[in-house]
């Protein structure tokens, strides 16, 4: 098996880990971090694909993922700060419950 293919398996494992994080964690910061893991896993898959085919496009897509992730983190964290200021907590279940009331 080629390293690139093994890297794809690695990407799958990392992605799934991120998914688990999003589902399991109740804290907004951890959810955001899990999303970052998924982003990163996706990038890894691109790079692996690039290596597999010997084309630069996959790597370029990783480069495009970077600003997207950066923007996402910037806004996500700003929102997290706002949420924290309003509800004094980052626990998603608590927030949802207080919004329903």
């Amino acid at each position: 098996m080629l390293p690139a293919e093994q890297a794809l398996i690695l990407a799958a494992i990392l992605f799934v880990t991120g998914v688990i994080g999003v589902i399991v964690r109740r804290n907004l910061i951890f959810v955001l971090m899990s999303v970052e893991i998924m982003f990163n896993a996706a990038g890894l898959a691109f790079v692996a694909g690039s290596a597999l085919h010997g084309q630069p496009d996959g790597q370029i897509f990783f480069i495009f993922i970077l600003p997207v992730a950066a923007a996402e983190v910037a806004i996500g964290l700003a929102l997290a700060v706002l949420v924290f200021q309003k509800y004094r907590t980052l626990d998603l279940w608590t927030i949802a419950r207080s919004r329903e009331e």
Partner: protein
Amino acid sequence: MLQHGQPILWLIPALPAAGAALIFLFSKQMSGRAAGRIACVSVTLCFGWVLFCSSLLLTWPGGNMLFFHEKICQWLDAGPIQSDIGFYFDRIALVFSIIVSGVGLLIHIYSCEYMDGDEGMRRYFGYMNLFVASMLVLVMADNALFMFVGWEGVGACSFFLIGHWYQKSENCVAAQKAFLVTRLGDIFLLIGLLLCARLAGVSYLNMSGFAQIDDMKSVAEFGGIQGSTLITIAALLLLGGAVGKSAQLPLQTWLPDAMAGPTPVSALIHAATMVTAGVYLVARFHALFALSPAAMLTVAFIGAATALYAATCAIVQTDIKRILAYSTISQIGFMVLGLGVGAFSPGIFHFFTHAFYKALLFLAAGAVIHALHGEQNIFNMGGLKQPLKGIYLAFLAGAASLAGIPFITAGFWSKDAILWSALTTRYGNAGLYAAGLATALLTSIYSFRLVCIVFFGNPRKEHHIHPPGPLLSWPLYILAFFAIVAGFINIPAVFGAHPAWEHFFTPVFGEDQAESLVHSSGYEITATLGSGALAIIGALIAWRLYAPKREPIPAPASEIGSVLTETPSPYRSSLANDLFHGWRFDALYDALFVRTFRIAAAVLGWFDRTIVDGIFELAAAIVRGFNTLFLFFQNSRIPRYALVMLAGAVVITTIVIMSIPR
């Protein structure tokens, strides 16, 4: 003021209508007295114009002018419903409009003093003027549908005026009752008119269109009913309207309660004019009624029964206005009896004299009530002969006329003409005559019972008596004069006089007027003397029973019987009690109709809220069920969304894998 030589007729109702408009539009700027003055002036002008039109009609060159007719514009136009706005001034309309405007004028003048200082004086005069205008439209409309405008208009004014003192709930309920009961009759009338239009074409509804009356006989059938039966049905439906408006059996219950209104209102609307609209209607449609002997018999029977019924009730009442109210029902019963036996012109004659003496009695009663500051129970009065001399004399004249004291009173001549017809015309029979005689006796008894208790003896209660002013007294004297002399225009020929009234109406009623089948002057004189003697006997009985020296009947002070609470009856005997409550018709109707209506309304209200709405709410509940189902996916918690996305991803991936060709 003349158009093609004819007087302008629309001015007659327009003048009081203009007065009403003026009062309503500027009611905030004017005082109550100013409103009274405007009302009086407008009715005076109206009365003057009526007299002018009448004199023109009567003195028309050649002497054969039967009516003025004036079409103003087309009003309704839809298939069988055709109607104009137009006026028709014939001899029936002439008599009615003279009474309406003339007696109306006197009552307006009277009201200026009677209502002085009342908070709602402007409103009062506005409605009174509106009433006069509506009543004139009623009697002068040139077709039946336009007449219906006046018909309903007077009903509405009656409603407003009965509820004049609106702060007492029972007055409002009485007003509502009057409106609803008469409206029930109006619906019959409306259906009757539609049937007439259907039967003989719309022209039948025109007052001037009686030439085509024979078309009615040629009507084959409608809705599977034979033509002659249809004519009876149409006549009976019209009679339904008349019964409602004129408070005849079985729709009479509203009139005694209508006494909740101010006394002049009772005098004008509930004695002299509006309640006689039924008489007008039957007289106006005499051609239709004459076609159906069965309908005529029904009319006569209702009239006789009502006359007797109301007289028995009047004899035990304690409230001065209620006595007069029952008396009005009874006297209108007389008129209807007259119409029913084909004596149309005596029927109208009785309306004519009754308008004078009953308005007089009401106004005099009002003056007494005014003098005693609102006291209405006759057993709290007494001994008023001296302090209220003028009123006493006027009242006495009215009561004598009502009782039919022979020869000298108007009531005698008109009542006698009806009684004679009831005995001798082709529609008449001994039963009707006997009922009429009994009523005459009872009438005399309760009239003089009233006079004895109110004016003779000692005062039963201390009252500070407020003397009547000139505006209150003079209308009484004028009416008293007419209550005595109005009868002399129709003294039967057997007494050697000239029955001008009969001749006046001969061209109007023509063949429909049923002539007496007996042509024996001795017989007629005997009958006249007999009925006159009955009146005197009645007066003597009353004197014997209620003579001033005797102890008065101990009667508890009872307010006017209201619809809300049954007045406790002053009598021990159950028969007298039942009579006092008008044979308990109210209780019967209350149980039969009013309660049924209320229960039905309440049940349906519940049904609408619970069942009908419930069905749609059920649909909403089902949707809500789906909502809770889908809320599992959308519970506003990010992890749940992620889980759903994950599930979606799994599903899609599975599909992709399944679809990979192997």
